[in-house]
Symmetry: C2
Subunit: 428 residues, 2 copies
Amino acid sequence: MSDPLKIGIAGLGTVGAGVVKMVQTHGGLLARRAGRPLEIVAVSARSKGKDRGVDLSGFGWEDDPVALAKRDDIDLLVEVMGGEDGPAKACSEAALAAGKHVVTANKAMLALHGQALAELAESTGAALRFEAAVAGGIPIVKALTEGLAGNGISRVMGVMNGTCNYILTKMDATGASYAEVLKEAQALGYAEAEPSVDVGGIDAAHKLSLLAATAFGTRVAFDKVEIEGIERITLQDIKNAADMGYRIKLLGVAQQNQDGIEQRMQPCLVPSASPLGQLEGVSNMVVVEGDFIGQTVYQGPGAGEGPTASAIMGDIMDIARGYNIPAFGQPAKGLAQPNTSSQGSDAAYYLRFSLTDAPGTLAKLAAILGAHQISINRMHQYGHDGITAPLVIVTHRTARAALDVALAEICALSASLAEPVALRIETL
Amino acid sequence: MSDPLKIGIAGLGTVGAGVVKMVQTHGGLLARRAGRPLEIVAVSARSKGKDRGVDLSGFGWEDDPVALAKRDDIDLLVEVMGGEDGPAKACSEAALAAGKHVVTANKAMLALHGQALAELAESTGAALRFEAAVAGGIPIVKALTEGLAGNGISRVMGVMNGTCNYILTKMDATGASYAEVLKEAQALGYAEAEPSVDVGGIDAAHKLSLLAATAFGTRVAFDKVEIEGIERITLQDIKNAADMGYRIKLLGVAQQNQDGIEQRMQPCLVPSASPLGQLEGVSNMVVVEGDFIGQTVYQGPGAGEGPTASAIMGDIMDIARGYNIPAFGQPAKGLAQPNTSSQGSDAAYYLRFSLTDAPGTLAKLAAILGAHQISINRMHQYGHDGITAPLVIVTHRTARAALDVALAEICALSASLAEPVALRIETL
């Protein structure tokens, strides 16, 4: 058996502690599988004294994660501190610059600095791996870069934020409002006190941008992801969708169009009977479509100590076994700037309007839609209270650009009480 | 860029032709991803002249696959001839003995000779890979051996024969009988003229034995798989199951019990609302449970030219990138003989009896069950025609051994018209 792979862990929150537990629980098994032992040499975190439920007495300690990264006795740095810049980036750069491998769960850092870090890694021959950064424990980066490497990928999509899926499925199941369920999710620890990174779609968009780069061989383009959160979804929207055979999901879609790559993270209607439609709670699901494989679906826990540690260990094991492929599956310098699709693909839309209950309002709205070639598939007016007239319209397939212009015109009508809600109906 | 990886393909049926198409379609992409070109050097099949819809003019030809395997200008042999022995095994052995990598889709060969082939591969430093042998295009072997390598695996289960799932879901959807749907599946090419390898559960059991070895680090033990086919499932069984919230699937389960490893391939009842319960048509699905990851689910096409070629190419790409891990994820010589679980785990069962409609029959049957400590959860008598009295019983959790004794006693009753059907209700 070869020399041990020597590991430093920067960050001892839930995930870092999970990695320690895994090595301590499965040391023998991991060594048999990797052909060499894994050895945690040193760790770094903010507070040395804190009880993390794991025995750290055998490991060296560094207050400074950069110092950890530079230690001569470390082959591989596990970066699980989080934060897009600052110490996480500094220690990752220090490790890669010194030719040490980096395994990270840090989606925000990679969404913003993935290209630079990947180029740095390749310049020194180090590996940069990030399975844990996307869809938690699901080995989806591996599936895309390795298992499905023979395919031209046409579309990658999925539910990649457990908090949002928990909120939406809980609203559906209990009839509670968005605000009520969010509060409950915060109490349970499923949502942060400041929830906007999750419910605003940012976290999931970070993940989508990494999947898109991996799938299409392009540079990470987080700034090109169209992002919309779930904050405006009402219980009535969920019920309306259900009546039509759909469920609402915060769905990320990256697809190759004729004129470029489309990246969207937004609440969408998906068929209730589809795997995505049936996804409950904090689970994640990713759907990959390729020209030879057709469609494959991957489901699993999207977060948590065990699942995230599992993903990190998958990366560590590859490195221990001597596997070192470029971070995004192709040499970073050769990755193309993505030609962003100028206009998202056409789709049918679910529209909800809040209008005053005044004669002629519907005629004006219908006229605007008609003028923009948007045709109506179904219409439903509900909860009519004599003052406001909430109206739901499902369109036939239309261009998003035309819809946006029409919605702006409708919004400008004196009868319009609130900005309309427009949810794409995704074809699966 | 490094030297090309030189490939020989033994077998030019659907799958072999699919691999040729993939290299011809995606040559540039594959080279970028692998860091070196893939080059098909020579091929072998039964009939040289046959039109396979692909241009073979640039490749060498060998009538004898063993001669192909021995060619000096080949680094890797793709074995897609099929057949558990004979030329498939001979050419695989010849290639591995000469230190050439082998990528195969041949589940029957590996179920019977996997251990010997894996040891041969390791003795010469060649890779032996078989992603395409299990669950078609789903990269499940990779997930088990690599992505989830940090976990102790507790259970692997799934639907791994598309023919059977097509027949069962089609019976359910159309109300047609097993015989009718089988005939239709044969006409559509989903089932062989001699269907017993599929409908008898053998093909799926081959796959399960490979997953079990990979998951638990034990030698392939196909002869230890308890196998039962779907031939005796009636439309009434499917309807009865649906009434209780279940669907019937040919389900393979390999699990680690306290006293050893349990491997079963048999029709089971699974909850209709579960991912397995919702699997339609020829798709495959594998569920993996590990101590850190929890549960992950993988779904995709279980067969066909494109999906199988995709799986083969995933293996080829790993080898092209220099990745070479033991066939079953750990050195073959170190794999333990599986300690077979002496008795399957307890479960609730769905039982269907065909009895004569004579007074006292039910009392005798109930007495036998009671004598073996098998308690009844639900009972339903249906289709009572004055001569036969079909009876369905759902038991509480019971040991299979006790159930088998009780069923034998009931079968021996003069009132028993046919062997009872007993289907396990699987907990997901």
